[in-house]
Amino acid sequence: MDALKKIIEADEKFNCCTYVPKEIEGSGKKLVSAKDNLCVKGMPAQAGSKILEGYVPPFDATVVERAKKAGYAVCAKTVMDEFGFGTFNVNTYKVPKNPHDPTRATGGSSGGSACLVAATGIPSIAESTGGSITAPSAFCGVVGVTPTYGLVSRYGLIDYANSLDKIGTMATTVTEAFSLLDTIKGTDKKDSTSTQPAQEKKLKNKIALPKEIWERTDERTRKQCWKAIDAMGVEAEEVSLKHVDSALYSYYIIAMAEASTNLAKYCGLRYGLQNEYGPEETYTEYFTKTRNAFGEEAKRRLLLGSFARTSGYRGKYYEKACKVRTLVIGELKNHLKEYDGFLTPSMPAIAPKFSEIAKLSPLQHYRMDVCTVPFNLAGLPHASVPFGKVDGMPVGVQIIGDHFQEKTVEKYAKIIEERK
């Protein structure tokens, strides 16, 4: 079947695209989709938000430029939680459905990317701040790769939290996901945080199982992931990560604080939503009126982020969170002196039903990120690989490596993939 037809069909069934071009530019190109927070020249980019309605970037993000140079054509922009604010991809104007069971969520925030990969097999360039590649990859049964912070240029990414955002990939196989990562990675003078990879470390053939994360996982998901360890046949030892809960709170404080400054630029003038205004209406009134277009979760995070760094609370919340981040990184790096990496379930449970998600409080939502947040806070590379099913829904196993040890992550991800 024609690729565009397949994409449109998937979108009609599962709500996974924000934009599909009328035709693919150039013939014989390899296809790739891009999460809607990535700028693709001439294609609308809203990052899941109504405040960016009408924005058409006049340039390509560095990752898109690199993919195009390597012979890829962007065949779709994919739906996401507003600015990446979510675990289930329900915080936006177009909510994707899980291709394995449309009454369940795809996971977020790169839900559209994972959904389109699962439905069509076309790889995707996605992005993770606290788990936005692993969560939807696990829920939709595809491979998701989140690289080390700084390996991939963020130029042209509509940012959520600058010290946490990482552009990565999704595909149906480990080889394809890492090959796409090789295409888009590399330093870029347009992103001062993009950096050179460190040398490859010698393998120790030993992985660590963080007890506190496994304990917070639903029993059936946990048992399924244990089967992966048995099948892999590698030495695996239990370790303790005593900062798991602190990592979760530290992550949310830092992410929200950074988001609340990043989103200050959306005032409805230079790009995106541009409302009408009367002759007496002042700039501040117009600014405030336009920002009402933010969705509920975006407003909640703007308020919390602003609160955490405001005078009188900055030391207690933001600065404290940054210090706790140091401890989390230290604890993880300490274990990585002895082990090649960590292995955990990708998510604490299978993809929830929309009716179940509606009953969760915001705090319960945030706690669903316990498997992914510590490693994202530390900027460690990781991959989620599908490994069997529970109740007919995919389960993902997550393998995490040391900074810039993507080759090690790929090696273990391949073993998981081969033994499933």
Binding site: K189, S361, P362, H403
Partner: protein
């Protein structure tokens, strides 16, 4: 929390409806209480991390760059200028 909420909403240029304020106030209370769990972590000799890896400061020559059509998405233009609402009453 309600007073704090009004203050930070104004800082963020957000005009919350009564319904939104009523919903957010207890949620923010619950979430910030959870965040306060960090008080139990001893960070007395710990430096903050603003990035997960060490970031070097990068310099470039002080030369003009050509941005890619930065005003292309602005809808209201007049005589080569961008038009916006008035600043003063």
């Amino acid at each position: 929390m309600k007073k704090e909420l009004e203050r930070i909403a104004a800082q963020q240029r957000l005009q919350l409806s009564e319904e939104e304020a009523g919903k957010f106030a207890p949620q923010l209370e619950e979430i910030t209480k959870a965040f306060s769990e960090l008080d139990r972590v001893d960070t007395s000799n710990t430096k903050p991390s603003f990035h997960p890896i060490e970031i070097e400061t990068i310099f470039r020559e002080d030369e003009a760059q050509t941005p890619s059509k930065p005003t292309e998405n602005h809808q209201r233009k007049e005589k080569g200028y961008l038009k916006g609402p008035r600043i003063l009453k």
